[in-house]
């Protein structure tokens, strides 16, 4: 508990931990929710691009232990294509029908008595392919004569929109200095330790589907799945497993597989279980987009940033899979970053290639956006001879300007960016660090310092995805806005409290923080409160949001928990007031009791008061409904649809991050050693410092991986070369640099507890801060992650360095 007697804000140990530490927590592969399960395995395409000439399943079907086989033709007859916000003629089915478009795309499903037998039978399916030229190079994919992924679209460019805010042309014409960087950003993936998994059951009379899974939905994706399966929402019941072994966004990308399993369950007449294996995950789940972008930044000589141009070319993979193109629009309305710049041009081209479709990954669109903006800031500083910290200080949105309306519509709730910068410089020992760089260079060593700052949006407005549509298209499609949070709190006849959240956590500790919030409101301890985080779309209250991503728990869900707890508290106080013969306003809930304010001996046990609402309705105040079962659905303020000038308030809260990295590069090996890394965060009021620190450390690990090691590599033929954990290298303990964390927290006026969403954190900035440090060390701006030995050694050999 904090000194102020509150649980919120205290480093409460996690409720989740004991079951996880003792092996008693249950994940999807531990569950057999219905009898008669068959196990599914998927045949996946070995080709990146090929026509399917024929599929012969006869040998597989007759293999002992096999229940049945389903092909893409079967699935296309049983489902409808899954749409996205980009209105192009692409029929996206969860299984290839007449053509494969990436190596790893499902081609057939076998259901068998166990997974071993199912995989045996996969080898008995004979598929004849007619290979087509693979489309792997982004530039070539945009040529008029390129082979096409989707012939009906007529181009591999499936989406192209440009946006102007302010007067970018004049700003660039009047600039003293324009910095342009052409950059590539690698494709990488969050690879949670638990892969996708689902059990799907079709039942007739009436036709309905139930899917148990570790899905990070349901939200808007439930509606898309209903459309694909051709059922109303009450005939598609989604139930999430008690625990999910990490997600970082990527487990939203599994819904096509859930549609596939549901349809296959119907076709085969048995419930199906499918647990994705790691090899499947690395070629067939999802990834962040690789990009080949350019950024231009217009500066005055004094370092004032007066204009920005973002020229984005996004590889979406073989299909544009909802909620894409969200990754390129999540940051759009905050395209000015942490700066005052008002003149902005954005050009977005989304291109299909023969790679795995992209989707949510930690930071969702942030790593790519901030790579452009923050690389341009460091490059601009070097071009103008201004210190990298000073150029940011001169451009920051001043602390007295909040709430701040960004040119593209975001409303930044609160912040003190300069204080965050000062804290980072202090923690880094910036003057000494620079002196150390000078000494290192005098000795001929390659030493560099880089910086990056970010605003961290949280609690997405689901309307932002419709920026992919023109204002006219949006008008035709009807209104969409907001991002709702839901919570139900009940007190049962024994007086015990259960909180049900709709936030599909995957390790973030939502149960612990929910219990802290409810405990404060009800005068109980977190141990008194059980929290259920499993979602059941049929029996529990829930509503829409763009998805459970963008750090929405502490900006949106938390307010729903607080509101539901307030409703429960009001009822308990009203019941107690009658028994204590005082007014409800004079009753407080504290120490497990309902008691008279100022007269603590006049108290009734909370449990007894709450239980009375069930046991003795006649003894309740006049007009009160019996029982306690309170649901709150909250809509954050100010999240309207985009206006006719494509401005939209894209998120509820905006945190701030300031990262500083110092690296030394070994000339002999190309090894980038991170000598110092400082990260200062503004997360608003801290709900649980233990969990906040854990999120920051975890985000940093993803960022370091993206900066130094991780890349999903394909060869020119479209063969995935990083299909195992021996080839796709995740960061392990010895590779992790030390992280120094600081805070300059400004409470958010947009949330009841003043918290902001957090969690993406340094995953968005570490690739950029480290790239900036590498650029500084080498004295060149053409540096792109991942900074692997080969790549950096080539850079060193090619140009020397700043020393």
């Amino acid at each position: 508990m904090t000194e102020g007697g509150r649980w919120v804000g205290a480093p409460v140990p996690r409720k989740e931990d004991e079951a996880l530490l003792t092996g008693h927590a249950r994940f999807i592969d531990d569950m057999e929710p219905v009898p008669g399960l068959r196990h599914a395995a998927l045949l996946r395409s070995p080709h990146a691009h090929a026509d399917i000439v024929s599929v012969d399943i006869s040998n597989a079907v007759s293999h002992p232990g096999v229940h049945g086989v389903v092909t893409g033709v079967d699935i296309s007859a049983a489902t409808r294509p899954i749409p996205s916000a980009v209105r192009v003629p692409i029929d996206y089915y969860p299984m290839a029908v007449d053509k494969v478009r990436y190596a790893g795309e499902p081609v057939a499903l076998v259901a068998a008595e166990d997974r071993y037998v199912a995989e045996d039978a996969l080898e008995l399916i004979e598929v004849e392919y007619r290979p087509l030229p693979p489309v792997m190079d982004l530039d070539a994919a945009m040529d008029d004569d390129s082979p096409l992924l989707h012939e009906a679209v007529g181009s591999n460019v499936v989406h192209h929109r440009s946006f102007r805010y302010g007067d970018p042309e004049t700003a660039f014409a009047e600039a003293d200095r324009v910095v342009r960087l052409d950059w590539t950003f690698p494709r990488y993936s969050s690879t949670p330790m638990e892969t996708y998994g689902a059990v799907a059951q079709f039942e007739p009379a009436p036709d309905r589907y139930t899917i148990w899974s570790n899905f990070q939905g349901p939200f808007i994706l439930h509606a898309l799945m209903c459309g694909a399966l051709g059922v109303p929402g009450n005939r598609l019941r989604l139930i999430t497993s008690p625990q999910s072994g990490g997600s970082f966004g990527i487990k939203q990308g599994m819904y096509p597989y859930m549609v596939l399993l549901a349809a296959a369950s119907r076709l085969l007449g048995v419930p199906l279980k499918w647990i994705e294996d790691r090899l499947e995950h690395l070629v067939g789940s999802s990834a962040a987009s690789n990009r080949e972008d350019a950024v231009e930044a217009a500066f005055r000589n004094d370092g004032t940033l007066i204009g920005l141009k973002f020229l984005n070319v996004v590889d979406v993979g073989a299909f544009i899979r909802a909620p894409e193109p969200a990754s390129v629009y999540r940051m759009h309305s905050a395209s000015n970053g942490a700066y005052r710049v008002g003149n902005i041009y954005v050009d977005n081209r989304l291109v299909t290639t023969n790679r795995l479709p992209i989707g949510l990954n930690r930071g969702y669109g942030g790593p790519q956006f901030f790579f452009a903006l923050e690389r341009a800031m460091d490059a601009g500083a070097r071009a103008l001879g201004i210190d990298i910290a000073e150029i940011r200080r001169r451009n920051f949105i001043p602390r007295d300007s909040f709430p701040y309306r960004a040119p593209a519509g975001a409303i930044y709730d609160a912040g003190d960016y300069e204080a965050g910068l000062d804290r980072a410089l202090e923690l880094a020992g910036y003057e000494e660090l620079r002196a150390g760089r000078d000494r290192a260079r005098d000795e001929g060593r390659l030493f560099g310092i880089g910086m990056a700052t970010a605003i961290e949006p949280s609690g997405s407005n689901m309307a932002y995805v419709t920026l992919a549509q023109t204002p006219e298209e949006r008008a035709r499609a009807g209104g969409r806005s907001g991002g709702l949070g839901t919570c139900t709190i009940s007190v049962d006849p024994t007086g015990s409290v259960t909180v049900k959240t709709v936030s599909t956590p995957a390790g973030q500790g939502h149960a612990t923080v929910a219990a802290q919030v409810a405990a404060d409101a009800l005068g109980l301890t977190p141990d008194d409160i059980d929290v259920v985080t499993e979602v059941d779309t049929l029996t529990g209250a829930w509503s829409l949001a763009s998805g459970n991503y963008a750090n929405r728990f502490s900006s949106v869900v938390i307010d729903a928990i607080g509101e539901a707890a307030r409703l429960v508290a009001d009822k308990v106080r009203a019941v107690a007031a009658e028994d204590l013969e005082v007014a409800a306003e004079d009753v407080e809930l504290a120490d497990g009791t309902a008691r008279v304010v100022g007269v603590p001996e006049k108290a009734l046990p909370f449990r007894r008061v709450a239980a009375k609402t069930h046991w003795h309705p006649a003894g309740l105040p006049d007009g009160m409904t019996p029982g306690i079962f309170e649901t709150a659905i909250v809509s954050p303020p100010g999240l309207g649809p985009p206006d006719e000038r494509d401005r939209v308030a894209s998120a509820v809260t905006f945190g701030f991050i300031c990262d500083l990295a110092a690296v030394e590069i070994d000339r002999g090996t190309g090894r980038v050693e991170v000598r110092k890394y400082v990260s200062v965060h503004d997360v608003g009021n801290v709900l649980n410092p233990l969990i906040v620190e854990g999120q920051i450390l975890g985000g940093f690990a993803h960022g370091v991986g993206g900066a130094l090691m991780e890349e999903m590599v394909y060869d020119e033929e479209g063969n995935p070369l990083s299909g195992t954990f021996a080839d796709y290298l995740c960061v392990t303990a010895p590779e992790m640099p030390a992280l120094t964390v600081g805070h300059v927290d400004t409470p958010s006026p947009h949330t009841a507890l003043g918290a902001k969403g957090m969690g993406d954190g340094c995953s968005m900035l570490a690739p950029t801060a480290i790239a900036n440090a590498v650029a500084d060390a080498l004295g060149r701006e053409d540096v792109d992650p991942p900074f692997t030995l080969n790549r950096v050694w080539d850079l060193v050999a090619d140009g020397g360095g700043a020393g």
Partner: protein, 162 residues
Amino acid sequence: MLRIKPGTRHRVTVTVNGRRHGGFAEARTLLSDFLRHELKLFGTHVGCEHGVCGACTVNIDGRAVRSCLRFAVQVDGAEIGTVEGLAEGGSLSPLQEAFRRHHALQCGFCTAGILISATQFLETNPDPTEDEVRDMLSGHICRCTGYEGMVRAILDVAGGSS
């Protein structure tokens, strides 16, 4: 030498966490699958099934071993320790307590294997340096924590934290 024909099942008896368990396995049945789906001991998790991530690590006759790289029939008669056996008498082991205190787990999926490795590591190296702890952890992948809490927890239990 024992020969098991493909497609036939063989009885495997093991002692897991001090209790005798028996079940059937084909020659190709992985120990990880045998523990989870035959013995219904779901505390051991499978993260990659090709020997890299370390999530499935169990203790076999005193050594930490990846259970996805063993066949069940290879361990007939062995003493196996899994995460379910670490908390004795219903109370968390000092290492489990330290993991909780130092927020060394988030989703907890990789944790079972790491606890098994770290427990055996501390038995053979009771006072490790931080580098040694990190080197031991390099046999495991965790995507949530950045490893910092684990390093602190293991050093804390070892008494090497200063």
